[in-house]
Amino acid sequence: MKGTVYLVLGALLVGGVLAGVALGATAIPWGRLLSYATGDRDALSPAELLILGRIRLPRVLVGLLVGAALAVAGGVMQGLFRNPLASPYTLGLAGGASTGAAVVITAGLAQGNLWSLPGGAFVGATVASLAVGALARTRRGTTPLTLILAGIALATLFSAATSALIFLANPQEMGAILVWTMGGLGRATPAALTYLAPLVLGGIAVVLAFSHDLDVLALGDDQARHMGLAPGRVRFALLATSTAMTAAAVACAGPIGFVGLIVPHAVRLVLGPGHAHLLVASALAGAAFLVWADLAARLILRPVELPVGLVTAFLGVPFFLYLLRRGGGR
């Protein structure tokens, strides 16, 4: 069962990468790609090589990393807060990151320094995660309802703040923020990979090291404590890691919805609740899902690109509802 799931996910991932590189506004025939890959250096024109190396390959790699980051962050938050509705989106983290990035753009700091945009996003996401953690806490810990309500309230607040920044910005910055808030992999550059890759891959490694702790935490903080776990420390480490991953993803691709909520759920319905497999499979599934969604966004109205968030919603929600119906009878 698990083997089959990983096989399918692996095939989707490899297929997505190949198709994502080969297909686009300028179609490059598979035959010539293949002969280039097998050593015929003249099979592709310099222009085609430029498209592949500077545009499509970075875009696919960014898609893989952003998809994996959002899905894993969502899976961690759902386990951490014992709440099926938790995700970078519903807890306001993505909104905080957006506002932080919008501040950086309005202040004119986005150009020139590679780390300024992810830095702003990280500050915003950290503010959001601290705020949601503090707001949702009641006498006896955090209840599922207060957590989600606090998250939605924060997301609304951040969205208003981002709108205010757009309103106050000069026309050029306004355009930059607007395009960015739509979310998409269109502006992916090889340079973005220098912060995205270490943050996302490192984050996944950290989170996997805590997968047993996430399992035990499902028994409740008190019982987990009796089993040698320090719930406060585990929470802090995992929340900080998923905040960093969310910030990196949002800084690079803008806010992209549904991936962080739906992918871990879909994986859980198929593989069960154990976090080791859940997080690994979520990383693979999130990566594959976003690459395919981006491909669809590029191809459906070619040469016009759709916002990838539209596609993730249209592809993801029906699939999720199908899994929900099927899993409900389990």
Binding site: A209, H212, D215, L219, M227, L229
Partner: protein, 291 residues
């Protein structure tokens, strides 16, 4: 194996909920902590587990329990809370393997030793047949046994249980208590908080009776389950006899209490308000005695 508490107390904010408790439990012994709601039973267990800190000393095999790192402690002492979330979808086998958490490295599958411990915990609790079932789909009794298996998989020498029989029917109550008696007979020190006095008297080697956070009596059931102590601590009338079946003391509670029962108690009412419900303690909805 030996767990010793000296002068253990606890307060929540300004309110003292436990004070001056002395208790020594040796391996092979089953001790039941009894007392009214809010008497401090759960607090005492949590203090003994090291989860709560406060005044007093707790020694595990002569060493200060609070100085033992949590993971190391969890290999020697396990506690099962009264309530854990019931909506867990983990299959029983995976759930019981959680008990190996303090023994396992951060990454990697269960070792052979881990699997043996899980297997033995399943066997000891009679849950081997449930391994594939999700925890959320078990009955109350099956759930309790699966959780018991989980803490047993920690391979603890000391086992603390908060109300292990709560919400269970009488069959499962007896089953769980027999299991605890067996675990004690295997050499573990077992301490459990219980509401059912007769269940405690039938299975425990010793009973510890708490009232308002203080030890009123500690000793064999015959010394603790007495008419006078029940009257003093629970404010009830009871006839205590030896069970014809087991010989252990057995309290027959007189319902309804005789007229003038409250006034005839002779002791002043010590409780102004119950800590749990805000109701006068012992006033379990019984009609007020008429003068």
């Amino acid at each position: 194996m030996n767990l010793a508490a000296h002068g253990v107390g606890h307060r929540y904010r300004e309110r003292v909920v436990l004070s001056g408790v002395d208790l020594t439990v040796a391996g092979g012994e089953l001790v039941a902590v009894v007392g009214p709601n809010g008497a401090g039973k759960s607090t005492l267990l949590r203090r003994l587990s090291g989860a709560l800190r406060g005044p007093g000393v707790i020694l595990l095999d002569g060493g200060d329990l609070t100085r033992i790192p949590a993971r190391i402690l969890a290999r020697r002492l396990a506690m099962l809370e009264q309530e854990v979330p019931t909506e867990l979808d983990f299959p029983v086998e995976e759930l019981v393997a959680f008990g190996r958490h303090p023994h396992r490295p951060r990454l990697g599958p269960l070792s052979q030793r881990d699997r043996t411990a899980v297997h033995r915990a399943l066997e000891a609790t009679g849950t081997t047949g449930l391994v594939r079932r999700p925890f959320s789909q078990l009955s109350g009794g099956e759930r309790r046994k699966a959780l018991l298996a989980t803490v047993l998989a920690q391979e603890p020498a000391v086992l603390l249980l908060d109300e292990p029989t709560v919400h269970l029917d009488v069959h499962h109550q007896l089953e769980i208590m027999s299991l605890l008696a067996e675990l004690a007979a295997d050499g573990r020190a077992v301490v459990c908080a219980l509401h059912d006095l007769n269940l405690a008297a039938a299975f425990a080697h010793r009973m510890l009776l708490l009232k308002e956070g203080r030890v009123v009596a500690i000793g064999p059931p015959a010394e603790v389950l007495t008419r006078d102590l029940l009257r003093h601590v629970f404010e009830i009338e009871a006839m205590v006899m030896a069970s014809p079946a087991t010989g252990s003391p057995f309290a027959h509670f007189v319902v309804p209490p005789p007229a003038g029962f409250r006034r005839s108690l002779g002791t002043p009412r010590l409780y102004t308000a119950d800590r749990d419900s805000g109701r006068p303690d012992g006033d379990c909805g019984l009609p007020e005695a008429s003068p």
